[in-house]
């Protein structure tokens, strides 16, 4: 192999180029990734299940197919969050073992990854039933941040994030209900995309909240996110919400941003630490230098989004878990059990009130985006907190961890539209990011702006020492 660096450190885009030119084989790449798993997973806990033999068999098949086949994921090792069914691997949902199921078929997204030639390394760590934002898990142990293992990885797509950041995979597939792709992506220095609700099918994914659940990629680069989205997007008869629209063309490398208007959600910039706000200002200046116009955006209903979200999510989660909740109640960790119980037997009027409030907020955002192409907002108010922190201090005020972790992502989750997070800076060696929010089905535009942000801080400069 002529590569000077470890192939596990490549982006998907780079690896695809090396594979197609014959400088690297899928087996070599997969072995390099499995070596990283062997080296790092004991400490970081990114995988709940590793299928090394199956992965190597998939890699050999990719090498055999290579001659007349340039599928973008052919031979690319990926990590799949363990609430997504992969045939041949257990789906634990990050739960106590009694719940585990052995799926008889792949989730739709996994079937699409296989059809595109991907190598599936294993099932990524998750908060129990994806109901958490910190990457903690009392049943399987916590996932740890690759920049500092004493800190949280973020969750609930903790495993795909940490695996992708460290070369235990070249990309990850996660799910985002409250911020579960965006938060671990941000805290692990990655690009993460929450697609338009319905863009990516959810069949074969353990539900948490039907109004919010979205499947999306976590990657080292914007180009990689575009590659994965192209594969994941598309209608699915097994998913009644899946949109019947073809995958759009993605060209994140269109450099200039002339003619674009970017709305900065200043209410969220005002509540984050100064180092995040300063990096956002620097990023906005960079986008302006590329030709974009930026305008402030104020959303009167934004303070109500927390109530909207928790009412809708907790009621839907309680209903999603109802078929097995009573039988498995003793096996849930207390915080998840308590949240599910709080969502039981709530009047339908409370649920509909929250969904009416969402309608008002979506209409307000739609009006605010008249003449504005995308919104910009921080992804997190702080860098990764210590795992031992009982409170998270934000601008001098101690906040409950869940409140601090979700405060910037929850408002955008209400919209059902695409949101990407892209790294924009680091503080004390720990990365953080910015959200880019588009109108429904505007993923190509969102990624184009993300790519422009990425120019300031590309992957090779921000990867953790281990990856």
């Amino acid at each position: 192999m002529a590569l000077s660096s470890d192939p596990a450190s490549l982006t998907i885009t780079e690896a695809h180029r090396e594979l197609t030119t014959g400088r690297l084989s899928a087996v070599e790449l997969t072995k390099a990734v499995l070596d990283r798993v062997e080296q790092l997973n004991g400490e970081l806990n990114a995988y709940l299940h590793v299928a090394a033999d199956a992965a190597l068999a998939q890699a050999r098949a990719a090498d055999d197919a290579r001659r007349d086949d340039d599928r973008p994921l052919l031979g690319i090792p990926l990590c799949v969050k363990d609430i997504i069914d992969v045939h041949g691997m257990p789906t634990t949902g990050g739960t106590a073992a009694v719940w585990t199921r052995q799926p008889e078929r792949d989730a739709t997204v996994v079937a699409r990854l296989r059809a595109a030639g991907a190598v599936l390394i294993g099932k990524g760590h998750t908060n129990e039933f994806a109901y958490g934002a910190d990457g903690g898990n009392p049943h399987w142990g916590d996932c740890r941040n690759p920049y500092d293992p004493a800190r949280i990885s973020g969750g609930s797509s903790s495993g795909p994030a940490v695996a992708t950041a460290t070369g235990m995979a070249l990309g990850g597939i996660g799910t985002d209900t409250s911020g579960s792709v965006r938060i671990p992506a941000t805290l692990c220095g990655l690009v993460g995309v929450r697609p338009t609700l319905g863009r990516v099918p959810r069949a074969g994914v353990i539900p948490l909240s039907w109004s919010y659940d979205a499947v999306g990629p976590l990657t080292r680069s914007v180009d990689d996110a575009a590659i994965l989205l192209r594969v994941l997007i598309g209608a699915d008869p097994a998913d009644p919400v899946a949109a019947d629209r073809p995958a759009p063309g993605f060209d994140p490398r269109i450099g200039a941003l002339h003619g674009l208007r970017l709305g900065v959600v200043e209410q969220l910039v005002d509540v984050v630490e100064d180092y995040v706000a300063d990096a956002m200002a620097g990023t906005v200046a960079h986008l302006s230098a590329l030709g974009a116009e930026t305008v402030p955006v104020h959303l009167d209903l934004l303070p109500h989004t927390r109530a909207m979200h928790f009412v809708v999510q907790q009621i839907e989660a309680a209903q999603a878990h109802a078929p097995w909740f009573d039988a498995h109640r003793p096996h849930y960790a207390a915080p998840v059990r308590e949240r599910l119980e709080a969502g039981q037997d709530v009047p339908a009027t409370a649920y509909l009130t929250a969904q009416q409030a969402r309608r008002l907020f979506i209409d307000e955002v739609s009006r605010a985006m008249a003449g504005v192409d995308v919104l910009l907002a921080p992804t997190m108010p702080v860098v990764a907190p210590l795992r031992s922190d009982s409170d998270i201090e934000v601008r001098g005020a101690p906040l409950a961890p869940r409140q601090a972790l979700l405060m910037c992502t929850l408002p955008m989750t209400q919209l059902g539209s695409p949101v990407a997070t892209v790294p924009i800076g680091a503080h004390d060696g720990l990365p953080f990011g910015m959200q880019i929010v588009g109108r429904p089905f505007a993923e190509p535009l969102v990624l184009r702006v993300a790519a422009a942000c990425e120019q300031r801080w590309p992957w090779p400069e921000r990867r953790p020492a281990v990856g």
């Binding site: 709530v346 409370a350 539209s417 429904p440």
Partner: protein, 50 residues
């Protein structure tokens, strides 16, 4: 079944209901009622933008 166990089953229910686990969530929903919700259709399924 003994007479004692029958008596135990006939004891009156507690006079005061325990606090409901969902009280906080219902209170959260109440805060949204201050919004102008008249004639507003709730979001159900994937939201459509106007």
């Amino acid at each position: 079944m003994t007479g004692d166990s029958n008596r135990a089953s006939l004891e009156p229910a507690a006079q005061t209901a325990p606090p409901r686990a969902n009280a906080e969530l219902i209170a959260l929903a109440e805060t949204l009622k201050e919004l102008p919700l008249t004639d507003v259709e709730p979001v159900l399924g994937a939201p459509r933008w106007r």
